[in-house]
Amino acid sequence: MAKIIAGVGSSHVPAIGAALDNGKTEEPYWKRVFSGFEKSKEWMANAKPDIAIVVYNDHASSFSVDIIPTFALGCAAEFPPADEGWGPRPVPVVKGHPELAAHIAQSVILDEFDLTVVNKMEVDHGLTVPMNLLFGQPKDAWPCPVIPLAVNVVMYPPPTGHRCYMLGKAIRKAVESYPEDLKVVIFGTGGLSHQISGPRAGLINSKWDKAFLDNLSKDPKKLTRIPHIEYMREAGAEGIEMVMWLIMRGALDDKVEEVYRFYTVPASNTAVGHIILENRRKLASGTRKPAAAASRHPAAGNTRHKARQAALRKPGHRIAG
């Protein structure tokens, strides 16, 4: 059975991609941002997912204003990086997982989520920047196949937070009904607070962001009740893309372990937020928690595992405001 083991939330600021592509990662401004993802890359290297489902939004790359799908699932075998106006990013072609993607599409549509199946799609910074932040900069190939889920957050109204959360649950159900043993990590990307359009551009609300991350971890249902107007007023017009994190959260257990968090302002126009949430129930349901945790880290044992989690949590926990 395939299983979602963890969720990753990450901003997908295009300037982060530009800093990587132009070799600026050692500049103090960018080092501050990238330093927050060092532990995350370690975590990901240990987690070794077989597949990543990446919830992101297309920024006028594959979808113009001709067709604006609310939820579009990438079912293709591969997704080339898009030319966003500066030329395509020099990152490997993203390989898909058409079998699981098709299975998810069928399952969630029958669960009444009318998503769009996409068999040809290019992917932009919305997807590739978080991939870099968690998987580094591989030259030839990404370490695992990716199923992209593009969400409309460009044209108002995006799907509600509640709808996103429920879709996450349907995705989880789909993954868990897939017969092959696969470890899946799901990404929610975008945000946190930012506005890049109009005279109010530059808006940042760290207090809001912190509350969002706290609730994401501990009480996500609270977040599902936030109306769009509140996102836009408090977290900036483009901050509304935070609804995508709720798809990731919906796909996890109700209770999760927050193993890492990072926050810094700014990257270009945006507050960078990042969180890693692990499902506590590591084995099939019915197995008790401590046994499950120990069995997933047989060499380390539970105590060392806990110490490692505590160590991971500490250095990155920088919340301003």
Partner: protein, 148 residues
């Protein structure tokens, strides 16, 4: 036809790209989208006015594009992720464009961001409803505690 009134029109300094603006700005956004191809970027740079004839634009929209009046483009139905491609064609980053839209120099804008960005205080509402939204929505959670 005049624009319908929406709750989000109360947010200052913000043009929300909704379904109505998506229709109104179709020409602006499809023009911008065309700039994701190198040959189109070259053709546009070679003769901007001539290139714009290929798209359905009102005089106001065409004028805003030629003058690089990004706020006006947004008001007339442009979307920032699309207009950013025009910015990219001019060699502008998102940050540089944001500075332009806020009427600051790139240096002033970058300093504001480094100092933590534009505060939400005083920037929530045109009509004076400028108190923090209750992120924790106490009233609601109270009424729901029974279910827990």
């Amino acid at each position: 036809m005049t624009r319908m009134h929406h709750d989000y029109d109360d947010i200052p300094g913000t043009f929300v790209f909704d379904a109505e603006r998506s229709r109104q700005g179709y020409g602006i956004n499809m023009f911008c989208m065309s700039l994701t191809k190198e040959e189109n970027r070259k053709a546009f740079k070679a003769d901007e006015a001539e290139y714009l004839k290929k798209f359905q634009l009102t005089d106001e929209q065409r004028d805003a594009i030629l003058k690089r009046d990004y706020n006006r483009m947004l008001e007339l139905g442009g979307n920032i992720y699309f207009t950013a491609k025009l910015g990219a064609t001019d060699g502008y980053s998102f940050e540089r464009m944001a500075a332009l839209m806020t009427g600051s120099t790139p240096k002033e804008y970058a300093e504001m961001m480094l100092a933590g960005g534009r505060s939400v205080e005083g920037n929530r509402s045109k009509s004076g409803r400028d108190k923090a939204a209750r992120v924790k929505s106490k009233a609601k959670s109270k009424s729901r505690t029974k279910r827990k």
